[in-house]
């Protein structure tokens, strides 16, 4: 029997939402344990770094353009460009480079 698409969508949405709020349901106060505290301190940076590379190189038509966007993005962020500026610079890098590559 074919599943109902709307039931499927609703279940997918609820299951995803549950993962988002599960920690909120459990935690009542900041964790004091030094290891867990340190672990959670590093989690965001590690997750985002893992998701960024090498995915950024694979996302573009030309891997060279993706790699260039990575380098430009790192430099711009290093020197304090805002979220929006870094994003736009990365896009512009790819857009311009892919004229030539």
């Amino acid at each position: 029997m074919q599943n109902n698409a709307y039931v499927y969508i609703l279940v997918m949405a609820l299951a995803t939402w549950f993962m988002r709020v599960a920690a909120s349901l459990i935690m009542k106060r900041p964790i004091r344990n030094t290891f867990l505290q340190s672990f959670l301190y590093y989690v965001p940076y590690v997750t985002l770094a893992v998701m960024t590379f090498p995915a950024i190189v694979e996302a573009t038509q030309s891997p060279v353009a993706g790699a260039a966007a990575l380098i430009i993005g790192i430099l711009a962020a290093w020197f304090g460009a805002s979220l929006f500026k870094v994003a736009v610079l990365c896009c512009a890098t790819v857009f311009i480079l892919e004229f030539f590559l």
Partner: protein
């Protein structure tokens, strides 16, 4: 002290570039969703309610293979496990006595990008900020999905290619400034880049889904750094820790 309305506006403003990046990614998600048999209305609804890129892609694929709802639930939990970790990281920054409703509202807004900008923002995570970003970004995500389904591949590939790095640019803007300030974070970022590249190339590990690779590497590398470079300050989630 900023008012809630201003904080919402700040979130909304920061959510717009996220939404533009989402739009491009959602467009390609929509193209896939059409192949899996979804209509534009269904795709719009799915994206509006779920707002999870990899998770949705998997969900659409499961629907096409007629998987059971139990399989859908279990695999959705696994592929979105990083949201669980992100939820813990956000709640870690909320002081004791934060109402459950506030914790749930902040948690409900978690996407990779909104989590990123919320963590980057000094002070205690607030639902006004996260909802500002969510309300700016998610409609574009849903619209992109619907247009991808109904119009197919109409955007020139070069434009899609350029837009697809917007999200990664935002990630860099979140992780690089703290990496400059804190050498341990910088080292963690470099190790993450290296391990992530290795995980894509190595046999067996590369067979795992990207979501699973992300969570395994996140747990291992964060645990390693927690052991090597523990953080002892007790002000986490405090007034104005400018991390």
């Amino acid at each position: 002290m900023k008012g809630n309305r201003e904080i919402f506006a700040e979130g909304y403003k920061n959510g717009i570039p996220i939404g533009l990046g989402y739009f491009a990614v959602a467009f390609s998600l929509g193209i896939a969703a059409r192949d899996y048999g979804f209509t534009a209305v269904q795709g719009f609804l799915a994206s509006l309610l779920t707002y999870a890129s990899a998770g949705q892609y998997m969900g659409f694929a499961l629907y096409a293979t007629n998987a059971t709802l139990i399989e859908l639930i279990v695999l959705t939990f696994i592929i979105n496990a990083r949201y669980l970790l992100m939820g813990f990281a956000l709640n870690q920054r909320m002081p004791e006595g934060t109402p459950l409703s506030r914790r749930i509202l902040v948690g409900s807004c978690i996407t990779d990008e909104i989590f990123g900008i919320t963590i980057a923002r000094p002070g205690i995570p607030t639902p006004y900020y996260t909802f500002g970003a969510l309300i700016a970004a998610v409609p574009l995500w849903a619209l992109g999905t619907a247009l991808g389904i109904s119009l197919g591949n109409i955007l020139p590939a070069r434009i899609v290619s350029a837009l697809s790095v917007a999200l990664f640019g935002m990630f860099l803007a979140v992780i690089i400034p703290p990496a400059r300030k804190d050498k341990a974070v910088g080292a963690a970022v470099l190790v993450s880049f290296a391990c992530s590249l290795a995980a894509v190339k190595l046999p067996y590990i590369s067979d795992l889904s990207q979501g699973n690779r992300t969570i395994i590497l996140t747990v291992l590398i964060s645990a390693l750094f927690a052991v090597l470079f523990p953080r002892t300050d007790k002000t986490e989630g405090g007034e104005s820790d400018a991390e």
